[in-house]
């Protein structure tokens, strides 16, 4: 019996020792799993304090410019490497612009009744063809002084200027004038783009870009933490938006009010303002934005100011009931108030009564002006902070 007991004990011993490494491995795994859980919990908690801001809007409404401005204002801005990375973009913009103008002038000679004013002068014709050719390539050459001078001469051609004045039907980018005027500087051999150059640079955003920042108050070091998402605005990019729609604190919807007489890049039969109107309506009705604050940036006011005195608002169907009242600065203000009221009307018509409680504010912006963007964002920040306090029952 003792012998049997010894065997049993022995086998028990080995049995136990076989179990021990199993338990240890198990415990280690558990330990790791727990650590991961803890980390997930911590990060989720931290995430809750980060406010998600979404920049939405039609193509070329100024979303990316606002994005760049925020980067300049509240992060470390652009270092030299980043600035240099924009050189090729800026040069590309120059080539694209001059090509659009030259090809546009040709088109206008064919379609317009008084075609003679769009005919490029003989000495510039060849240069024009060459540049148009360059512009259609996938890779652009570096902008040398030589080419820059040729572009400059062509830009100054009367026909090209006439074509530029019809820019609204030709898809001429808004940065055209700025870059054309700075051609000497842009074509320097050791050209490093300035902050302003970078703000004007135009790249069609594709996909999603994000930055995290904290707006620094006057006497406070730490304010709220925001994460800003920038997206592409063209139609084919919009299907990617839906992935970002959860848990958004505020939508910053950019609408370029200067484009009431322009057509879409992706569909030249559609008026841009009408597109913006429909897009805004669509965004407002999204179920996930029930409690989201909406900040409407009526952008490109500087261009609007100039345009509204020459091109009446009624060319856009949405604004067809506009009655001009005065002239000069008063008229600009009157026109702006009219556009603002239209957007307000759209908001309240698209918003169900239960949702009327969400924050909706309209801001007049010129995304290229850093001071203005800073002031505007300060107001946005204040509104969101107050909203937080109200929701927490502290106000």
């Amino acid at each position: 019996m003792i012998f049997m007991l010894a065997i049993v004990l022995h086998s028990m011993g080995s049995f136990c020792s076989r179990q021990k490494p199993y338990n240890e491995a198990d415990a280690e795994e558990n330990e790791q799993a727990e650590e991961i859980e803890r980390r997930i919990a911590r990060e989720t908690k931290a995430e809750q304090h980060i406010h998600k801001l979404l920049l939405l809007g039609a193509g070329e409404s100024g979303k990316s410019t606002i994005f760049k401005q925020i980067k300049l204002l509240f992060q470390t801005g652009f270092d030299e490497a980043e600035l240099r990375s924009y050189t090729s973009v800026i040069h590309a913009n120059v080539y694209q612009t001059i090509k659009i103008l030259f090809d546009g002038a040709k088109e206008l000679t064919q379609n317009e009744s008084d075609s003679s004013k769009y005919v490029v002068s003989c000495e510039n014709k060849d240069v024009g063809e060459k540049l148009s050719d360059i512009g259609s390539r996938l890779d652009y050459p570096y902008l040398t002084k030589e080419i820059a001078n040729e572009i400059k001469t062509l830009w100054n051609d009367a026909a090209i200027q006439e074509a530029y004045s019809r820019g609204n039907i030709l898809q001429v980018p808004d940065c055209a004038q700025y870059f054309m005027e700075n051609l000497e500087r842009l074509s320097e051999t050791d050209y490093v783009p300035t902050k302003e150059d970078v703000l004007y640079a135009r790249v069609r955003t594709t996909g999603v870009v994000e930055i995290q920042f904290s707006p620094v108050g006057e006497s406070r070091k730490s304010g709220e933490v925001y994460r800003l998402y920038d997206v592409g605005g063209q139609r084919n990019e919009r299907r990617k938006w839906i992935h970002l729609f959860e848990g958004v604190r505020a939508v910053i919807f950019c609408a370029a009010i200067s484009e009431y007489d322009q057509m879409l890049f992706e569909d030249e039969t559609k008026n841009r303002m009408m597109e913006t109107k429909e897009l805004f309506d669509w965004v407002l009705k999204q179920a996930c934005f029930e409690k989201t604050s909406f900040m409407l940036f009526l952008n490109k006011f500087d261009i609007f100011e100039q345009k509204v005195q020459k091109v009446p608002l009624n060319v856009c169907e949405w604004f067809k009931d506009y009655q001009p009242m005065a002239s000069g600065k008063q008229e600009v203000e009157h026109a702006y108030e009219f556009v603002k009221k239209k957007f307000e009307e759209l908001y309240f018509q698209s918003t169900k009564p239960e949702r009327v409680d969400r924050v909706f504010k309209i801001y007049r912006t010129t995304a290229l002006d850093q001071k203005l963007v800073k002031k505007t964002f300060k107001l946005v920040d204040e509104t969101l902070r107050r909203r937080n306090l109200i929701e927490a029952g502290l106000l």
Partner: protein
């Protein structure tokens, strides 16, 4: 070796045994009569009474007058205290009247008087005078102080930025609300212009809410008001009306009302969705009855401009106001009914009234119950609804007891148009019923009771 120190000699006015002879000032100053630090003024006896009367009148009602200064007969502070032989002190006029009525007793002790002479109590008069003077001077100083402070703040506002600016505005807001004397100071030192210039498209809520709080308390001239009517400023006020605390909302409402009183006010300034939606939110906020009445007041004013009426209807004001009616106090009820009455004039308003389920019940309940004006308006609403869709609405109204009330109005009202309206409405309602059936519906027995 420790030095022997002689105890200090007693002050010349100190009595043996520790008692003290006090002069009037000290008595008042050292708090024997409840006064604190300050100077007393001892005027000559002649001009004293008159000055004293003035100071008594201007005294802050919150200040507690010491009991010994009060005449037991009139319970007013004494301006000419006289003492009887019993040692009790009264106001001269009052005790002489008492004695002239034939009483020969001391009013407080009920003792019989052995001597009907009255002796002026100069000591007490001096004390009373000193106490009131002190209070008077202190109040005057405080009043002047606030005006000085207000002028200082207006000056600060010209240069301050950021947090300093917000703090200065907050303090000025406080001063202007509490001390009416500062309002003139602010106006005279150019404060209106400075504060108005702070309002613009980039004004933060903190600055804007205080600025409006200040402006609402001041008397603004037409020019200032015209300056404030710029669309950007009005937009700011509308935003704050939507987002601010209840005080800010009420201030914004009052501000807009103030602007609307100007002759050249254009109704387009208030035909803004945001404003109307904000006002409706304010009006529905049951926690703040002040807000409700302020909101209704402004809405009524806006509604009087015909061009804005369809906009008001389109934001759903009609149904929201109708549903609010049972919860309002009489004053607010009148305002709400006036608004609905104005809106019933346009076709969209009429339709909205008909579509709202609560219109008829709520309106019928108001008839005769509250006031003549409310009845008039309610009647007008019912008429608008029933004349639009008699088949639908009349039966419902009659079920609610409309007929009986209409009869009551026709009997009791003094206004012939009201009577006429009631009669017409009664006719509309009775169209579908036979006479006997209708009479039973009228529940006449109850009316007679």
């Amino acid at each position: 070796m420790p030095q022997y120190r002689q105890p200090p000699p007693p002050p010349p006015w100190a009595l043996e045994g520790g008692g003290q002879v006090l002069d009037v000032e000290t008595a008042v100053k050292d708090g024997i009569l409840g006064a604190t630090a300050g100077g007393g003024v001892l005027a000559g006896a002649a001009g004293e009474k008159l000055e004293l009367k003035k100071m008594i009148d201007e005294l802050d009602p919150l200040d507690d007058i010491p009991a010994v200064f009060i005449c037991p007969i009139s319970l007013d502070p004494m301006t000419d205290p006289v003492t009887l032989c019993t040692g009790q002190t009264y106001e001269r006029g009052n005790i002489l009247k008492w004695l002239s009525m034939g009483h020969l007793t001391c009013p407080t002790t009920m003792q019989e008087l052995w001597d009907d002479t009255v002796t002026p109590n100069r000591t007490l008069l001096q004390l009373i005078h000193a106490w009131f003077s002190q209070r008077y001077l202190r109040a005057k100083k405080r009043a002047e102080d606030v005006q000085g402070r207000a002028a200082e703040l207006v000056d600060t506002l010209r240069k301050a930025k950021g947090q300093t600016r917000v703090q200065a505005l907050k303090e000025l807001h406080q001063l202007v609300t509490v001390h009416s004397s500062t309002r003139k100071t602010v106006a005279e030192s150019g404060g209106i212009g400075s504060v108005s210039s702070l309002l613009g498209p980039f004004t933060s809520h903190a600055v804007g809410s205080e600025a409006i709080g200040i402006l609402v308390n001041l008397d603004l001239c037409s020019d200032s008001k015209a300056n404030l009517m710029q669309p950007a400023k009005v937009s700011l006020v509308v935003d704050m009306l939507n987002e601010g605390t209840i005080e800010t909302r009420i201030n914004c409402t009052k501000f807009i009302e103030m602007l609307m009183e100007e002759k050249d006010f254009r109704s387009e300034n208030v035909s803004s969705f945001s404003l109307l939606v904000g006002l409706l939110k304010l009006v529905k906020d049951k926690r703040h009855p002040n807000g409700i009445s302020a909101g209704l007041g402004l809405l009524r004013m806006i509604c009087s401009h015909k061009q804005v009426r369809s906009l008001i209807v389109s934001v759903g004001a009609v149904s929201q106001l109708v549903e609010l009616l049972p919860h309002l106090n009489p004053e607010s009820l009148e305002a709400a009914l006036q608004i609905l009455d104005d809106l019933s004039v346009i076709p969209e308003g009429q339709k909205a009234l008909k579509d709202c389920q609560q219109t008829i019940p709520n309106a019928v309940r108001i008839l005769v119950r509250v006031s003549e004006t409310c009845t008039q308006h309610a009647l007008s609403l019912l008429w608008a609804v029933c004349s639009l869709a008699p088949e639908e609405c009349a039966p419902l109204a009659v079920e609610m007891g409309l007929a009986a009330r209409l009869l009551l109005i026709m009997q009791s009202s003094c206004d012939p148009t009201v009577k006429q309206r009631s009669a017409e409405l009664l006719k509309i309602c009775s169209v579908n019923y036979s006479e006997s059936h209708f009479i039973s519906k009228c529940k006449l027995t109850r009316t007679i009771q």
